[in-house]
Symmetry: C2
Subunit: 451 residues, 2 copies
């Protein structure tokens, strides 16, 4: 048992609590108490302690594209060309190296749990590696190596459009051929990592573009049988909605409802272009929604109806997605800012709700039930934020309003995962160094630029 | 003469140049050359050197509200209540202290020139101080104290709405009573600071809400006679447009054109809700536009038509405005991101154009003609950005794409103003310390919360 003293901590709700001692054993918070001083504690955290941030939706390899896709105009669809180029040069070894760099950056940004939405399964010819889960394992090993908690969300991706065309040559690494082959591989993966304390498996259909309506139900069944989270990209682009309506006569959300895909353990990623009926379906089934505001801006997706979803009772989580920007505190604020831009009013989401979407909302979406909180029995994942940083100086220290409206990753000083400090003074304690990471990422980016 | 060696520098256009030596004398860049090494230089700047950033529109005192206006819902108009509370508690001494804290934060964020849009002129009863320019002088002294270049934009504010109602009790500190009294005071201010090398005076009308149509022409005439920049808030809110149409039968932009307010030395701040005809008028007159994207999000203003303005040939500058966030690199990217959200496409603004709006665009808007550039005879204002920072690691170092799409204030390491280094390793070299600033800002914020 170790005792962590926090000058100020967010234990939920609108206010901060002073002088909190967290007792941690076997990677979990076992008790929470008040203390007059830090004298009896094993560790002291200055500043404001909040639960570790959660990126509930990430594609680690997209990080290689940061600052490399700005030559000329385009849209989501044209952006896929360089994205596929990076994807198609990766092997388990380089995928692991790339993920180590990205997960290191996430930890320094205060992200203690990441959901990797993983569809880059097979070799360049679309053939399974000797270990069919070599690529997924690479991501998990990278996470374990740097000390970030991970949910590896293994995504089925079997076709190239809603009409059911086969995967393109650029997509053949994604496909298991049949939904049964995908399901079998995922069950193996889940079995293999069932004993790892900081690893969970989740399952996904890539989208209604990537998995046929007849197969979506199988993906949902697999999730239920394994008792793991179920994710899918939904309505990120207007073209997807139109194609879905043309093929099935309904919106993607309605299609998912019809095949039994929705429910409390399901997370819809993006959910940008929804109808009022879609919002009703999502709310009625207890389905969650993961917004990725910086990516949705970067890719020109548009602004999703966060206010309407929350009003209907839907729980939100947040994702760094393309990792063009890695800053979950910024993502949380952008949900509010995007709604302000859209609705021309302020104070649409409460500060504490913004922070919940950045923490417990993500933990629930990734299968870490009860996590993302400073609470008894929660994983001992927490971070310290410097209230004297330039951006936070002068903000109210009794509530979370300043954190929600003004903090970024730049104010994160300490990061603790499972009771172990992995970041101090804003820097990862173990390798790789920033320079090593820069070198890895630059090499990957070059790979993407080659033909 | 001193020689500054830059590993990489942005000299304009899409590319970066390696191994650049800037010779600086009397606060200006006198020559630019290439060098094999830094051995003959007096100073070495690691990383990427770009011109100092410019916030072309700031209200320093709004910074006290950061993280303090999130209790409940509201809009731009309700936000004015706490903003006016802060305004009405300030005196020249506290205004100077507050501005020192804010300008210090700006310097650490790489902002070397600020345009302070200043309308808080008189004492609590609306009476001139013994020195009628005591409040403007407080801002200028704060800027000189911390070493930031300033254009003090003195704004006329004589009425409370477009219909011509007198200023409210909360606004009486803003008003000089008559446009002649305003003009006389501003001429005194301009005369007094004409010898200060890092200080310029500009003039403004607060808005078509704050200055009568019959007086707007006088403000423009004053600007022309003094040969100084001319600014005005325009069409930030739909309600302003509607009131202007009701009172004058035209949009604010058309009204300004009619009274001779527009032209190449005029900057329209916000310009959020424009008609196509407004855009034509603005372009035809060579008028500039200053976007403040984080404030326009924070206040729920909406997304302005940046793409259409640039397409029409209008030059953009950027402002931190309410200083809810102080990060001009972020502002530049948000212009692009907001247009992507609005137009559902990518690559709308070129990376080099985004950086120009953050540098030379702002310098031109603030009367520092030829500034905001690394060029001969420009003020020697430049900053260094760390390309190995977490956010920039792996981005292309041969172009400005990575800077435009991925950098924030967190990567700013060194700041040089007028040939003098004021920030090193991201920290202000002189007082006040971060802690002192936090204390000042917290005290000001409390003032705003009291009745």
């Amino acid at each position: 048992m170790e005792r962590w003293f926090a000058e100020r901590a967010w234990l939920g709700g609108p206010n901060l609590t002073e002088n909190v001692v967290l007792t941690v054993g076997r990677g979990r918070i076992t008790s929470i108490a008040r203390a007059q001083s830090h004298s009896s504690a094993d560790h002291k955290l200055d500043g404001i302690v909040i639960p570790g941030l959660v990126s509930a939706h990430s594609h680690a390899f997209h990080r290689a594209l940061r600052g490399h896709t700005s030559d000329g105009t385009g849209d989501f669809w044209s952006w896929r060309t360089p994205m596929y180029k990076v994807a198609n040069r990766l092997n388990p070894e380089s995928y692991r190296e790339l993920a180590i760099a990205v997960f290191s950056e996430m930890l320094e940004a205060g992200i203690t749990t990441v959901g990797e939405f993983h569809y880059l399964h097979h070799d360049e010819d679309g053939q399974p590696y000797a270990d069919p889960n070599a690529m997924g394992r690479a991501l998990i090993e990278a996470a374990v190596h740097v000390g970030i908690r991970v949910t590896l969300i293994d995504a089925a991706y079997l076709m190239s459009n809603v009409a059911g065309s086969p995967v393109t040559p650029q997509q053949r690494r994604f496909s298991d051929g049949t939904i049964d082959a995908w399901s079998e591989r995922v069950r193996d993966l889940n079995r293999e990592f069932s004993g790892e304390p900081a690893v969970r498996i989740g399952v996904a259909a890539h989208s209604v573009r990537g998995v046929a309506a007849t197969d979506l139900g199988d993906v949902a069944r697999t999730a239920r049988e394994l008792n793991v989270p179920l994710h899918i990209h939904v309505s990120e682009q207007i073209a997807e909605n139109e194609a879905c309506k043309a093929a099935h006569g309904v919106t993607p959300a309605r299609l998912l409802e019809t095949v039994g895909f929705l429910g409390p353990s399901t997370t819809l990623v993006h959910a940008t272009h929804l109808t009022p009926d879609d919002i009703d379906i999502i709310a009625a089934t207890g389905t969650g929604v993961c917004f990725c505001p910086t990516t949705e801006a970067d890719l020109g997706d548009g602004i999703g109806p966060a206010a309407e979803l929350v009003e209907a009772g839907v729980h939100l989580s947040l994702g760094s997605d393309s990792n063009a920007i890695i800053d979950i505190l910024d993502e949380a604020r952008r949900v509010e800012y995007h709604d302000r831009l859209r609705l021309h009013s302020r104070g649409i989401h409460r500060p504490e709700d913004m922070l919940e979407s950045a923490t417990s909302g993500g933990a629930e979406a990734l299968g870490w039930s009860g996590g993302g909180r400073i609470a008894e029995n929660a994983p001992a994942d927490f971070i310290a934020i410097d209230p004297t940083s330039s951006e936070l100086a002068g903000t109210d220290l009794s509530t979370v309003a300043g954190l929600a409206m003004a903090s970024t990753r730049a104010s994160v000083t300490d990061v603790v995962v499972g009771g172990r400090r992995v970041v101090a003074s804003g820097r990862l304690l173990a390798a790789p160094t920033a320079l090593e990471r820069a070198s890895t990422l630059a090499a990957m980016a070059k790979t993407g630029e080659q033909s």
